[in-house]
Each structure stands twice: as structure tokens, then as C-alpha cells.
Amino acid sequence: MKKRDVLFGLLTAMLLAVLFSPFASPWPDGLEKVAEDKGFLEKGEATPPITSPIPDYTWPGVDNDGLATAVAGAFGTLAVFVFALGSAWMLKRE
């Protein structure tokens, strides 16, 4: 994979996360909907064992909802890219 291909792939992912994520469907996903319909959604509403820094893909402190999602998306996309690339490098070195 050439540098150009990596940049193209990463840029595509970043654009998806930044430009399209604010317009994603707000409806509950399959599991959430089933939980709602079958009456066990509240089981998942207890306080989680850890606190996440960016819950629900909303960057804290940004008033505009769409922007908060876009920033969280950009950060997350870069974070998993670095994490996956770093893990692969470490495995290679072993």
C-alpha cells in the first residue's frame, strides 16, 4: 500500500465521519429498538462501571449538536487509525 492510498483511505473515512455523521439517522438501532419494544431497555440505563470521555459521540463543551458529533467522529477515526496501525507495527516487530 502506497502512501497515497493510505492518505486516500484515511481522508475518505475522515470525510464520512465529519460530513455525514451529523446527518445519521437518530432512530434507535436494531438492538435498542428490540429492547424498547420488549421492555428491557431500562436494564441498560444503570450507571456504567467506567466513565467515557466522549459519551454518545458528542464532543463535550460544543453547543452545536452536529459540530459536536463531527468533532467526536474526526477524533475517533484518527484514534482507531493510530491504534490499529500501532498494534500492527508492534506485532511486526515481535
Binding site: G9, A17, A24, W27, L31, P49, D56, A72, A79, F83
Partner: protein, 215 residues
């Protein structure tokens, strides 16, 4: 399909955690053995793409949305082991950073979305791509693997919920299957689109288990 904390009983989440740790260790060993230089950046790009695509919920029937899980897509490009590792990395970041999927449920989510998605998806994909050893075989295999892996993952998720006493088997299984038969169509459309594009511009990036089996 990310299970939050609270949906799974302790025996279910501890056993899926243990199973997933064992499974990921096997995958990491396998990846290390066959890791080529070209696959390293592709792992990063696939993780980034699948994370971004998972944010893009598309509406399906009845006030419900779905999003790409990406297991089959990762497996078609990276093979089953690196594919499963990439999906697990996405799930770990989603859980720890974005509170998408519970920490207790992380093992079950890795089992459903990474192992069934990438591992199971790869088996389905190769069965079809081997019968029809050309571009069309790759595309059809990817489409069927995408759809079926989502449906099987939703079944596994429903079984975990039933075993946990969260919802009775006869209620949660048909409900989960019913909605994911539809969400799986979206998974197949996106997976097929990306695989077709890669086949057109960089066909060498499609994972090839043995050189003589690929074109």
C-alpha cells in the same frame, strides 16, 4: 448491535470475556505469523473507515436504524485474523472512549461483531468465492457474507440476552432476527460497494489466502 452494560448476566458476560480474550490471542498469533508489510497500513485504514461508517446510521423500517458492522468487509480485505483484530480495536475504542457498548459486554460484542462478523463472514465469503473464482464470485461472496454474518450475529446476541434472563428466548430471538434481516441488507449494500470499488482500483488489496487461488 453493541450491547450496553446491564443487559447481560454475570455468567454470560464473564464467559464471553474469557472466550474473546482467548480468541483475540489466537488472532494476534496468526496475524504475527503472516503479517506482511503491505497489510499494516491497510489495517489502520480499515479500522478508520469502519469506525466512521459505523457512525452513519441508516433508517430501516419502523423507526429503527442500522449501521455497518464491517466484519465481512474487513475479512475480505484483510483475511479473518487481521480482520477480527481490526473490528476488535474499533469495538474497544467505541466502548472506552464513546460509551458505545458496555465494558462488561465488551467480550460479547467482540464475539458477535468481530468473531462472527469477520471470522464467520470470512468462511461464508470463501465458500462462495472458491466456487466462483472471479470478480463476480468475490462480490457475491462479500454480499452474502455481509448479510448472513449480521443475521447470525443478531441471533448470537439474542441468545446471550436470553441466557442472561433479560428477555425470553421465544420473544427476543425472532425480534432480533426480524430487524437484522433488514439491517443486513444495508450491510451487504455497503460491503459490496466498497469491495467493488477496491476490485476496480486496487484489486491486489483483496486478501488472498493462497496465491494460486487468486487472480
Amino acid at each position: 448491535m453493541h450491547i450496553p452494560d446491564g443487559f447481560l448476566a454475570a455468567p454470560t458476560w464473564t464467559s464471553t470475556w474469557l472466550f474473546s480474550i482467548a480468541g483475540i490471542s489466537v488472532c494476534l498469533k496468526k496475524v504475527t505469523m503472516v503479517l506482511e508489510d503491505r497489510i499494516i497500513p491497510l489495517m489502520g485504514v480499515m479500522a478508520a473507515f469502519i469506525f466512521a461508517a459505523q457512525m452513519l446510521n441508516f433508517p430501516v423500517a419502523g423507526g429503527t436504524s442500522g449501521h455497518l458492522l464491517g466484519g465481512a468487509l474487513a475479512a475480505v480485505l484483510l483475511g479473518p485474523y487481521a480482520g477480527a483484530v481490526v473490528i476488535a480495536i474499533v469495538l474497544i475504542v467505541q466502548c472506552l472512549v464513546f460509551q458505545d457498548g458496555g465494558l462488561t459486554a465488551l467480550g460479547a460484542n467482540i464475539f458477535n461483531i468481530s468473531f462472527i462478523g469477520a471470522g464467520g463472514g470470512y468462511i461464508i465469503y470463501r465458500c462462495i468465492a472458491r466456487i466462483k473464482n472471479d470478480r463476480r464470485g468475490v462480490i457475491i461472496g462479500a454480499a452474502v457474507a455481509a448479510w448472513l454474518s449480521v443475521v447470525i450475529a443478531s441471533f448470537a446476541c439474542a441468545v446471550e440476552l436470553a441466557l442472561s434472563g433479560t428477555s425470553p428466548f421465544r420473544i427476543v430471538v425472532p425480534a432480533m432476527l426480524g430487524v437484522h434481516i433488514l439491517i443486513g441488507i444495508g450491510e451487504a449494500v455497503i460491503t459490496t460497494g466498497v469491495v467493488s470499488f477496491v476490485l476496480k482500483v486496487r484489486p491486489d488489496l483483496i486478501y488472498c489466502p493462497k496465491k494460486e487461488e487468486c487472480q
